[in-house]
C-alpha cells in the first residue's frame, strides 16, 4: 500500500495540507493517513469528506490513529 500520508507529530494545518496534496495526486482509490491527535483525525476526516472521499475506517494505533479514506 503506497498511498500513505504520515502526518504524525505535525501541527495544524499540516495534516490536512498533506492529505489534500495526496488527494489531488491520486484522484481516486484508497489512502491511509496516520495522525497523532484527535484534532487532526477530525480535521482530516472533515477535509476528505468535503472532497467527496469516504471514511472507510479509523484504527487506533500505538500513537494516534490510522484513517482509511476511499474514493471510487
Amino acid at each position: 500500500m503506497s498511498n500513505i500520508v504520515d502526518a504524525r507529530g505535525l501541527s495544524c494545518p499540516q495534516p490536512v495540507l498533506l492529505t489534500m496534496e495526496k488527494i489531488k495526486k491520486v484522484k481516486k482509490g484508497a489512502i491511509a493517513i496516520l495522525v497523532d491527535t484527535d484534532t487532526s483525525k477530525e480535521n482530516v476526516s472533515r477535509a476528505a469528506t468535503s472532497q467527496g472521499w469516504k471514511i472507510k475506517g479509523i484504527k487506533v494505533e500505538r500513537i494516534g490513529y490510522r484513517l482509511m479514506i476511499v474514493k471510487k
Partner: protein, 366 residues
C-alpha cells in the same frame, strides 16, 4: 455522542455563542471595556503582576488565563486526549509568540478582543481585523509553499503538565498574596490601582468562566486564527462559523447589557491610528498563523499536553514584558515611541522564519 457534537458545525457554533455571552458578562462583572476576554491583554497583565514589566496600569493576575489552561487539561483527561508532545521548533515558537504579542499590543488586543471590540461598536477594530486577515493570508502563502515547523515527538507526561502546573502555581500566588484595596503591591505581586489592570471580575467568577471556556474550546478546537486560515486555505467554514457566532452573540449580549457604543473615537483602550491598527495585527496574524493557532488555541493546546504551544505562551508573556519595557505597546493616545519600529522588525523576523523553514516533509514515512 458528546464527542461528535463538539466536532460538528453546531458544536463549534455553540462554543462561539457561549464565549459571546460570557465575555460581555465578564465585562459587566468588572473586566475592562470591550475586554471581557483578551488573551494577549490578560497575559500582558500577568507579566505585569509578576513585575516582568512595571507599567502600573496593566498589572493583574488574570484568572481567566489560568482557567483556560486548566479547563483544557480537565477536558483532555476526561476525554482521554491528553498527549504530552514537544520538539517542533520550540525556539521558533517562542520568538513567534513574542512578536505576536508585540503586534497585538500595538493594536491593543488579540484576535479575541478584536472581535469583542467590533461587537462593542469600536470601529477601529475593523482595521485590526483587516490586518489580522492580511497577516493570516501571508501565512497561508508560506503554508502553501511548504512552510512547517517539523514534527513534535511523544514525550514524558510531565512535559505536558508543566504549563498547567505553572498556572496552578500562579493561582496559589494569587491566593497567598491577594489584592489589597488601594495598594499597588501585595507580597511579591503587583496590582494596578488605576487603568485596565484595576478593572476585573471577581476572582472565582473569572476562574469559573475561564475553566468553562477552556473545557469547551478544547473539545471544539475553537481558534480565531484557524477560522480565517481554513477559510483562505481550504474554503472551509467550520472554525469560521464559531467566530461568527461569537461576534453576533457578543453584539446582541452587549445590546442587552447596554454595552454597545458605536464609534471610532474615545473607545475603551483603543487608539485611532488606523495604519498601525492594521500593521500591528498583520504582524500578530502572521505570527499566529506561522505558529498554527491563535493565542487562545495555544493555551488550550498547552493544556492538552502540547509543550511547544506552552513555549509559545511563555514567548507571548516575554513579548509583553518587552512591549512595555521598551515602549512598544500602544495606549489610547496612540502607538508607543518604538511601536512602529517593533512592528517592522517583527515582520522582518516572521518573513525570515517563513522563508527559511520550508523543508519539505516526506509524507510517506518518517
Amino acid at each position: 455522542m458528546l464527542r461528535r457534537f463538539f466536532a460538528s458545525r453546531w458544536g463549534i457554533i455553540s462554543v462561539g455563542a457561549f464565549i459571546g455571552v460570557f465575555a460581555p458578562l465578564l465585562q459587566k462583572w468588572g473586566n475592562p471595556g470591550n475586554m471581557g476576554i483578551c488573551v494577549a491583554c490578560f497575559e500582558r497583565d500577568i507579566a505585569g503582576t509578576l513585575g516582568l514589566h512595571r507599567a502600573d496600569v496593566v498589572q493583574y493576575l488574570r484568572p481567566e488565563i489560568i482557567g483556560f489552561v486548566l479547563g483544557s487539561l480537565i477536558a483532555a483527561y476526561v476525554f482521554k486526549e491528553f498527549r504530552p508532545r514537544a520538539g517542533s521548533a520550540p525556539i521558533v515558537r517562542f520568538v513567534l509568540g513574542a512578536f505576536a504579542m508585540i503586534g497585538a499590543l500595538v493594536f491593543l488586543g488579540c484576535p479575541w478582543r478584536a472581535m469583542f471590540r467590533l461587537a462593542g461598536g469600536d470601529g477601529n477594530a475593523i482595521f485590526g481585523i483587516l490586518g489580522l486577515i492580511g497577516g493570516i493570508w501571508v501565512g497561508t502563502g508560506f503554508l502553501k509553499g511548504g512552510y512547517n515547523l517539523g514534527r513534535a515527538q511523544e514525550t514524558k507526561t510531565v512535559v505536558g503538565w508543566l504549563l498547567p502546573l505553572i498556572m496552578l502555581g500562579l493561582l496559589t500566588l494569587m491566593l497567598l498574596f491577594p489584592q489589597v484595596e488601594g495598594q499597588p503591591q501585595s507580597g511579591i505581586l503587583f496590582y494596578s490601582i488605576k487603568g485596565p489592570g484595576s478593572l476585573h471580575a471577581p476572582l472565582f467568577i473569572a476562574l469559573g468562566v475561564g475553566l468553562a471556556v477552556g473545557i469547551l474550546a478544547q473539545r471544539s478546537r475553537f481558534c480565531t486564527m484557524g477560522a480565517f486560515r481554513d477559510l483562505i486555505l481550504f474554503r472551509q467554514t467550520h472554525l469560521f462559523l464559531g467566530v461568527v457566532a461569537l461576534v453576533i452573540v457578543a453584539f446582541v449580549t452587549n445590546l442587552i447589557l447596554k454595552q454597545f457604543h458605536p464609534g471610532f473615537v474615545n473607545q475603551p483602550i483603543a487608539h485611532t491610528m488606523e495604519l498601525w491598527n492594521v500593521g500591528g495585527m498583520v504582524l500578530a496574524g502572521l505570527a499566529f498563523s506561522l505558529a498554527g493557532g491563535c493565542p487562545g488555541r495555544q493555551l488550550f493546546l498547552a493544556g492538552e499536553g502540547d509543550g511547544d504551544a506552552a513555549v509559545f505562551v511563555l514567548g507571548m508573556i516575554t513579548g509583553a514584558a518587552f512591549a512595555h519595557n521598551f515602549g512598544l505597546a500602544s495606549s489610547p493616545q496612540g502607538v508607543g515611541p518604538h511601536g512602529i519600529a517593533a512592528v517592522v522588525i517583527g515582520l522582518v523576523v516572521c518573513l525570515f522564519i517563513g522563508f527559511t523553514m520550508r523543508k519539505k516533509i516526506a509524507s510517506g514515512g518518517r
